[in-house]
Every structure is written in C-alpha cells, then in structure tokens.
C-alpha cells in the first residue's frame, strides 16, 4: 500500500506540473482545450491526493506499523477516533492534508467558474497547481508519509496524549481549510493581474464566497486552538501570543480587512490597489503560517524540531512576495480608483478605518512575532517580546475596532448628515453610556480599559439591535408578518448584510469576554492535603479526597493511570459545585524508564475540573506529587527487571498490573501525598466561546447562497444552454 501511496503522490506532482504548462499555454495561445485540460489536471490532482490520503488513513486505522509515520504517531492503545485523526499530527501527514484540501477546494472553485472568468481562470489554475506541485514535491522528495520500516514493530509510540482532545482533532483540518481556501482568492488575484482584468469585479464576486469560507474555517480553527489550550494545557489561559498562534491570526486579520474593503470596491469602485494587496498579503501570510509551524526559526510552545523544510518555504514565500509586488506595480494604472471618498463621516471612511486598524493589528502581531529575527539581524542578539508588549498595542486597537464595528452598520454611505447621525446614533450611544455608568457603579471602574470595552461592546450590540428592530418593523409594516417571520425573512432577503451584523455582535460579545476574564480573574497556586481549604476570590475550594484509577482500552491494555482529587466549591458557606480534576499518566514505550517507571514517567496531561457558567468559570487543575512514590517505583523496577526472562511475559504483565494497583493506585486514593492545585475564578469566559459561535453563525448566514445567487446561477445556466444550442446550430449550418 505504501508503494501505491508513493506512486499516487508522484502522479499528483506530474499532473500538477502538466496542468501548469497546459493552463499557461492555453491562456497565452488562446487554446481553450488546453485550458480545459489544465483544469482537469486539478481534478486529477484532487483524485490522486484523495487516494493517497485514504491510504494513509487506512494505515492509521489498521495500526499498520510498517508505515513509519503510523508507528511514530499511533499505537494499538490509541482510541479509534484519535487514530483517524493522528494522521495529521505528523509533519508528513499534515502536509498531505494540506495538499488534499487545497486540491479539493481548487477543484470546487474551478468547477464553479468553468464557464466564467475565461481570461483569469487559466492563470489562477496555474497558480493553484503551483501550490499543489510545491506540496507534492515536498511529500515526494522531503517528507514522505509513505516511508516504511524494514522491521515492523509490534507496537507504535502512540499519539501524544495532549492531542487526545476532540477540539484538537478538528482544529488542524479547520486551520488548513482556512489556509488553503485563502489560496483561491490569492490565485484569482494573480490571474486577474496577469490577464489585465484586475479592475473588473467579477473575479472578486466569484471568489468572495471562498474568501469568506477561508475566514470562517480559519476563525473556527483559531478558536478551537484557544479552547483546547483552556481545557487541556493545565495553565488556564486561552491565548499566549505564541508565534504559531500569531501565525494563524495574521491571515485571519488581513482576510477580515479584505472582506470589508471589497464591499467598497464592489459598490464604489474604490480601494482597488488596497484590495488586491490585501488578498495577496493574506495568501502569503497563509503560506507563512504553514511555514512557521515547520521551520523552527522562532521559539514556540508548539515545538518544531530541526526541519529541512525551511529553505523551500522561504524560497516559495520569496517568489510570492516578489511576484505579487511586481504584478501590482505593473498593473497600477488599471488599479486606479473610480471614485473618491466623499466624506470622513461615511460608511466608506469607517470601512477604511476598520481596514487600517485590522492591518495595524496584523502589523503589530507580525512585528512582535518576528522581532527575535529582526533584532538578531539588526543587533546580532536575539531578543523576544512577551504578552505585555502585545497587550500594549492590541488592547487599544481592539477597542477602536469594536467601536468601528458598531458605527459601520448604522452610518450612511457616501456622507452622513447631522439628522441621520442623530437618528442612528442617539439610542445606541445613550444605552451604551448608561450601561457603562451601571457597570462602573458595580465596581468595573477599577479596570478602566475593561470598562471601556464593555461600553463599546454594548454600543455594537445596541446599534446592531437597532438595525434589526427597524428592519423587522419595516417588514411588518409592509407584509403584516409576525415578528419572528419578519425577522427570518429580513435576514433571508439580505443574508450578507445581516450575517455580517451578527458577526459584529459576536465579536463584541467575544471581546467583552476577553476583557472581563483578563481584568477580573483571580488565580492561585497552592499545595494542599485532603481536608484543607483554599480561598480564591469569593470562593472556597476544599480538597475533599484523592481519587485514582487505571483506565484500560477495549483490547485490555492499560491506557493511562489517573490520579486526581474531589474538590468541593463553596461560596458564602453554600455549596456551589464539586469539581474532579485529575492528571493522566500515559505509559511510555521507553524501556529505560523501567517496567514500573514507564507507567508514570511517560506523557502526563491535566484533565481540568471546570464549572462553566454565563457569569463565572470555576477552573481547577491538579498535579499529584508522584515523587513520593519514587522508592516504590525503583523497588518495582529492580524486582521486575530481575524477573525478565525467568517468568513468562504474560505473568509478568499481570504482576506489574497488580503491583501498580496495590502499591501506587490504591495507596494514592487512601493516603495521598500533598498535591499542587491551580485554582482560577474567571468571569465571562463562556462569553468568548458564545461570541465565537455567534460570529460563525453570522458567517454561515452570510455565506449561504441567497435567492439572488440562485436566480443568477439559473440565468447563467440557461444562458450557457442557449449559447451551446446556438453554437451547435451554427456548426450544423456551416457544415
């Protein structure tokens, strides 16, 4: 099977190379049959990549350890759900996932546009196939997922326990979908620049939905990463300004700016250079994100070992940057604006401000992320920036961004008059200021920046709420519908607009959650014995008793040993909840740790105790002190090492299980050594996840094809049929 997989990747590389040549030849010589052949090469690459990915997945699901990557990233004890997802926990598997998703999305966009953009599409096809060729070449020549082992091991190393979390399994496909989808508007922008069609809006219209989908998936990926960090990493945070986190945020920020500013190009024919630059920058940043994860050039929590992929990626990024700048400069005349900004008090100006803030945010994040390299280049000394530096810039920019997202929906296009400004702004502003006064009276004034975020967030919710209120009122006046029906038909008739508004509300809710959970969080690290109590904020956490258990797989193998605690939480003497944090110790395959030691010295992960609520999250992680068992472990290692070869392996295995139970698991439950607890009481964390859900719900509404789009497609199909019929009639009459 590995040989077939390798062959499929080689064929994918050849098909991509052929497709590039065919598309460019067809475009230059005006030969549509070559253009069509180039497009079919994309479909072929998708089919071949699908085959290769399926082979890899099957190898993981069957625990076929003849595949080196399966041996290194899975095991028979890995649960089936995680076996399927372990494929992309490896370098080579994740690159194959990248290629597969890219080829699928490329096929979809080229299929949908097969009768449109005749001058732009061939070059876009060549660019998309260029990406496919690059990733195929990496998989063929650099990091093949189909390397095999001469001696097939009986057991694999297993999937890293930290990745055994549902959100971590969906997180990479979401991120990669975002990255690969951003390649589509990038490719069409390059195609439009080469073909000299960049001033036309049709390439934007055709790829806008893909840009929105990219933004949607990348956003979900980023939020899933944050959720995983909060629930799995045992530190209680959701964002650390780590280079790899930042790398995924960068294209999302510029992509968000692009999605706003293309509206101005579509409506007013303005900002063409800005838009094309944004879409090109977003595509390059998506590739850069992929590169950062693999290069090891920056110190990141998500460690990347030495890799030989850095140079090819740097070369690719270099070509993309130089090519993009060159094309924009070459086509600068065609990119001149058709109109000018009429007033700074207009929706266009607010969109422009929003773009500047988003790009400013992206620049700050980019600068902070790459500062170690910049400093090293300038001074010879590598220096790093921490979260306080990022916060210094991103907090004020985020405040302005949220404020603008409230102003944008209610300010008039072209020029706002005093009368319509008063009509649109009076109520939301008054309500937001009123909210600020109330919150200040309840103590929020102690954190002015957080209070400011609550006020501007409230302003967004009130201004968008006002838009919905008025829209529903107008519909009811026209149609006499009930309020719910009027709301649904209002949204259905203008999904892009009202989906966008929902996104704004979601972002406001999300930022309110971030502000509250950052500014008003109480945290404490404390070592405790059963029966002891720790106070955190208004809550008392009592360590009631220790817990311990061994967990086995369906096949009867020991999956992990969990040592935990029962923690009772009280407020004002009343019981609030009971939390059960624990720490899971997964067996290591490293024999040097000893027959007993390997069960406690392998990877360990925190299973947090969490009581999530709309007002507060009560969060606890615990670390048992297993050093207290070192003498027992050493003794067990000595005894069972001495037995090796003298007693049958099955008997030894049973005896080890008994020893673990009698000497560690049960004693821990009955008489545990002191454990270290990390307690966090954090307000409104749930608002972050809720805000994200509203954002993505709004994104879905905006992406969903509306009746207009369906009508346009039907008209286009009818026109195509008529054209074909006419062509046939003409051909017959000529014959």
């Amino acid at each position: 099977m590995a040989t077939v997989g390798r062959a499929l990747l080689i064929l994918a590389l050849l098909a991509a190379a052929y497709g590039i040549v065919a598309s460019i030849y067809g475009a230059v010589r005006g030969r549509p049959e070559w253009v069509a052949s180039g497009r079919r090469a994309v479909y072929a690459v998708a089919a071949l990549a699908t085959g290769a990915f399926a082979i890899l997945e099957i190898a993981f699901l069957r625990s076929d350890f003849s595949f080196q990557t399966v041996w290194a990233h899975s095991s028979t004890t890995t649960p089936t759900f995680y076996k399927g997802a372990a494929a992309w926990s490896s370098q080579e598997g994740s690159l194959l996932l990248w290629l597969w998703l890219l080829s699928l999305w490329s096929s979809l966009v080229l299929f949908l546009t097969r009768r449109q953009l005749r001058r732009v599409a061939p070059y876009a096809t060549a660019v998309l196939l260029g990406f496919a060729a690059f990733f195929s070449a990496l998989l063929v020549f650099k990091v093949s997922p189909f390397h095999t082992l001469a001696m097939v091991p009986a057991e694999g190393k297993g999937l890293n326990p930290l990745l055994r979390h549902p959100s971590m399994m969906i997180h990479p496909p979401m991120l990669y979908s975002g990255y690969t989808l951003f390649a589509i508007p990038f490719a069409f922008a390059i195609g439009a620049l080469i073909a000299g069609q960049v001033g036309a809006a049709d390439w934007i219209r055709s790829t806008r939905r893909f840009a929105l989908a990219a933004w949607f998936f990348l956003g979900i990926g980023v939020m899933l990463g944050a959720r995983w960090s909060y629930a799995e990493l045992g530190w209680g945070g959701y964002w650390a300004w780590d280079p790899v986190e930042n790398a995924s945020l960068l294209p999302w920020l510029t992509g968000t700016a692009f999605l706003h500013s293309i509206m101005i190009q579509e409506k007013r024919g303005m900002l063409k250079i800005w838009n094309v630059s944004l879409v090109l920058a977003t595509g390059i940043l998506a590739i850069m994100g992929t590169f950062l994860v693999r290069s090891g050039i920056l110190d990141s929590i998500h460690a990347f070992g030495a890799s030989t992929l850095g140079l090819p990626f740097v070369m690719l990024i270099g070509v993309l940057i130089v090519g993009s700048i060159g094309l924009v400069v070459y086509r600068r005349e065609a990119l001149r604006s058709e109109n000018k900004l009429d007033s700074m008090l207009s929706r266009e100006a607010i969109f422009l401000g929003n773009n500047l803030v988003l790009v400013g945010l992206a620049f700050v994040v980019f600068w902070g992320t790459f500062w170690p390299l910049i400093a090293e280049a300038l001074t010879g000394t590598r220096r790093a920036l921490g979260p306080p530096w990022f916060d210094r810039y991103t907090v004020p920019l985020a405040l302005v961004l949220v404020l603008l997202s409230g102003i944008g929906p209610i300010i008039a296009w072209r020029r706002a008059t005093k009368a319509n400004a008063r009509r649109n702004f009076l109520v939301p502003t008054a309500l937001a200021l009123g909210l600020g006064v109330v919150l200040a009276a309840f103590g929020a004034a102690s954190r002015p920046l957080a209070l400011l975020m609550f006020v501007v967030g409230g302003f967004v919710v009130f201004s968008v709420g006002q838009e919905f209120w008025r829209g529903v009122g107008a519909r009811r006046a026209m149609t006499n519908e009930n309020p719910a029906a009027a709301l649904l038909s209002l949204v259905a008739r203008n999904r892009r607009r009202y989906g966008g508004y929902l996104v704004h509300v979601g972002m406001a809710v999300l930022f309110i959650g971030v502000a509250a959970s950052t500014a008003f969080r109480d945290a404490r690290d404390v070592q405790m014995n059963p029966g002891e109590t720790a106070r955190v904020g208004d809550y008392e956490f009592r360590y009631v008793n220790a817990t311990s258990r061994a967990q086995f797989t369906n096949a009867g193998n020991l999956e992990k040993i969990s040592l935990g605690a029962v923690v009772e939480v009280r407020k004002d003497g009343k019981k609030v909840t009971t939390l059960r944090p624990d720490r899971g110790f997964y067996p290591s395959t490293d024999d040097s740790l000893g027959p007993i030691g390997r069960y406690l010295a392998g990877e360990a992960t925190s299973e947090i105790g969490l009581k999530a609520g709309m007002r507060k999250d009560l969060w606890v992680a615990m670390t048992p002190n297993i050093r207290a068992y070192e003498p027992t472990i050493e003794e067990g290692n000595r005894v069972f090492t001495a037995l090796q070869g003298k007693v049958p392996a099955e008997e030894t295995g049973a005896a080890i299980g008994l020893a673990l139970r009698n000497r560690i698991i049960e004693p821990y439950r009955n008489d545990p050594p002191p454990a270290t607890f990390r307690y966090i009481v954090s307000p409104l964390v749930t608002w972050i996840w809720l805000g994200a859900l509203i954002v993505f719900g709004g994104g879905l509404v905006a992406m969903w094809p509306g009746p207009d789009a369906a009508r346009r497609r039907a008209r286009a199909r009818a026109a195509a049929r008529v054209a074909e019929d006419l062509g046939r009639t003409q051909a017959r009459s000529t014959a």
Binding site: A72, Q91, I301, A306, G386
Partner: protein
C-alpha cells in the same frame, strides 16, 4: 483649498503618523524585549536584566515543590547548565529532557523564573528524526 494641496497635506499627516507609530513600535520593542540566551551565554548575566532562557531541563535536576519547581536548564547541544527556581503554573509537557523557554533574572547564584513564564515546547509536533530514518 485646492484638492491637490489637500491630498498632499493628508499624505504628509498620514506619513507623519505612520513614522511616529513606527518609532514607538521600535522603541518599545527594544525596551520591552528580553535577550534570548542559552545557559552558556549567561556567564556575564547582569542581575538588573531579565533574559529569556531557552534550553533543556537537565536530567536528574528536577525538584517539584509547592507552587513551582527547581531545576537546571542546560544548552540544547551542550552540557553548560544553570540552576533555575520557578514559581507558577507548570505546563503539562514539562519534564526532564524537555525543551523549555522561561523568563529569568539572576539572584545570587540562582536564576529566578518570572511567575507563569515557563513554557515547555510541545513534543507533539514534527521532528525531522521521526520521518527520515528509513
């Protein structure tokens, strides 16, 4: 005002603002950043400065205690090591042999880690040796 003059003034204001912001960005980057060093580069450490120390947790050096841990960090590819005393959250992947990044300040013979600054590189990600041996 003539439109071209208006445009020129706008451009000058925008460029001026961008220059001020760029200078602020560079200034704060220099003043707020910590030098990234490995243990062997800490020989001349200034107690007044903080450093971002990177390296591996030396085998046999880890002693966990209430609210933190004491351990030695050694060079990635060398034996030079320094003692570190750290208080704060200990990441799940933290253990001997793992690569860590921690913000430290020299206090006597020990390097004291800034609270909650310890990060351990996630061992889940891609390493060259796991893919290229066959």
């Amino acid at each position: 005002m003539h439109p071209s003059r208006k445009r020129r003034i706008r451009l000058i204001v925008a460029l001026g603002a961008a220059t001020i912001l760029a200078v602020a960005l560079v200034y704060t980057s220099v003043s707020a950043s910590n030098e990234t060093v490995q243990p062997s580069q800490l020989a001349k450490a200034d107690p007044a400065d903080t450093y971002q120390l990177t390296g591996k947790v030396a085998d046999g050096s880890l002693r966990e205690r209430s609210g933190g841990a004491d351990f030695r960090v050694r060079d990635r590819d060398g034996a030079a090591s320094v003692p570190v005393s750290y208080s704060g959250a200990i990441p799940d992947p933290f253990r001997e042999g793992r690569e860590v990044i921690i913000t430290v300040r020299k206090q006597g013979a020990t390097y004291v880690g800034e609270r909650d600054s310890l990060i351990t590189k996630c061992p889940s990600k891609f390493t060259e040796d796991s893919t290229q041996k066959s």
